[in-house]
Amino acid sequence: MAMAAENLVDENPNIAEHKIIARDVSVYYGEAQALKSVALDIGRNQVTSLIGPSGCGKSTFLRCLNRMNDVIDGCRVVGDITLDGEDIYDPKLDVVQLRARVGMVFQKPNPFPKSIYDNIAYGPRIHGLGEAKADTDEIVERSLTRAGLWKEVKDRLDKPGTGLSGGQQQRLCIARAIAVNPEVILMDEPCSALDPIATARIEELIDELRENFTIVIVTHSMQQAARVSQRTAFFHLGDLVECGDTQQLFTNPNDERTQGYITGRFG
């Protein structure tokens, strides 16, 4: 593994700048190849957005980063992905610990059918953070505050999380993800089920979270990618077509497929 890491360093002298380095990542669902030899660097404390037409493999790539693909029968990942220089597909690595370091927010808000409090407290509890009730209380308050939800729910922490509105549920899921203090947060189209106001709130939130977390977000909305991210990667039919500075990719793309997609000619 050390060798592979060295290779990556050679290709990429700026390891300090990059939280996650993916090289030559291919993913197969059974026989079908969903990702073709993707190489992508995720900048530290940056928001990286993944865009591209439906079915191009954005979610697949995102789920490689916390090994969520492991639970899918017949899914096979090849290639190297390192988190701070550490191979995350190393058989010796504990996948549970990886997921504590790389949190995830899903497309459809999926709070546990438990109280708001328990939704947030669950992660810290299973990782042994905040053994005492007072510590847990503090984690819950801090996470909800950071997710911008504290004011709305502080009087109903014992009510079920599933009783919140869609946008609140999604912020609850974000609070749940940041409660375990991950280093990276993956978001798979977190706003696709939300109205514009809820979306704006979450975009603000993402911008604030950037200070402490590295964020990778899949989005269908190019405006959203332009608003929240510093870097953007464009996928097409399982290929990573182009990756670069968000400003530059949207104003002056190198590839004509990117050009076509952002001007709405296909996708």
Partner: protein, 434 residues
Amino acid sequence: MTETSASAAPIQRPDLSGARLKRRYAAEARFRLYGLIAVFAAIGTLVLLLTSIISNGYTAFAQHHIALEVTFDEAEIDPTGEREYNVLRRANYQGIARASLRGSFPDVTERRAKRALVGLMSGSADQTLRDIVLANPDVIGTTQTVWVKASDDLDSFMKGHISRDVPESDRRIKDRDIGWIDQLIADERIESQFNTTFFTAGDSREPEQAGIWGATVGSFLMLFVTLVLSFPIGVLSAIYLEEFAPKNRWTDLIEVNINNLAAVPSIVFGLLGLAVFLNFFGLPRSAPLVGGMVLALMTLPTIIIAARAALKAVPPSIREAALGVGASKLQAVTHHVLPLAMPGILTGTILGAAQALGETAPLLMIGMVAFIVDIPGGFTDSATALPVQIYLWADSPERAFVEKTSAAIMVLLAFLVVMNAVAVLLRKRFERRW
């Protein structure tokens, strides 16, 4: 411009004429009618079944008693006067009871007639007297009115199951008996009382002394063993198969076999129990332990299938959410998936248990059809079960067992209804939206 975009074929609009509409309405009306007919047929059958059972069986909950003027003679019961338990217990109560009844009919002197007269009284009259004396020895030396059970023939006659109108040779109650009975009625010494014996006694050859408590206890001991074995094994298998096992040819094979097992006739499980538990392991015959083990084998596939369905119904997003915050697979299952699936699993388990409670055939194979009077006190005592008791009584020739059979069916049905109601309540109570 239209030519390039639209196809050359003329556009077909939907046919909105009345005829189609009428046909559609007619089809819908017909469908509803068939549905209603089916529902009423089902309800009708159920009502028929219930009325027949209840009309046959409700009389079993009452039992006629005869009042005796009993003289508890000290010389007869306790010659030594020491009130010693063993002496009191062994006294000739049979003789006392018979003498009391004969005393009411002093003109009956012939031996055969005297025997017929005491035959109107249940053979359990002596027990009734003994219980009175043992409970309160102070009655010795006094004369008391004691209600003893009437014989099953008298009881059937009073309930109208034996008619005066049939020729004497065709009925078990003869004209002479009827004369005595009429006299007892005239003296207000025959009374219908609630039949507690039916709910407190074990089986008996004498219908008026037979009860279902023995069978009920046997059934529930068995059900306990069944659940203790099949619930954990079934749920663990289901969790493993649904959440952990890889989906390959082996697990497919296992799944098919579990489904097949659910369809195996229950008597086959009885044969298996006979061969394995009794003959090979040498476990006792007629024991609730063995019955429970056999029924557990039978219920296992039901529970596994229900539990897998319940686990499958938990949305994958819950599992992803748990894994996403760094729960292990086991934590995701035990903390989130299993609690959500529990109502479904419990419902399936209760339905499986209800099925086991009503099962007869496999129990016949392991000797639970034996005639057992004693109430079972443990898992290895000889016992019988409710459905087997029904089978045994249905097979008995005495007229009085007909109503007992129906009454036992009512009790069994009551248990089944309660269990199904609990299943429905569980489902309602824990129904969750996510």
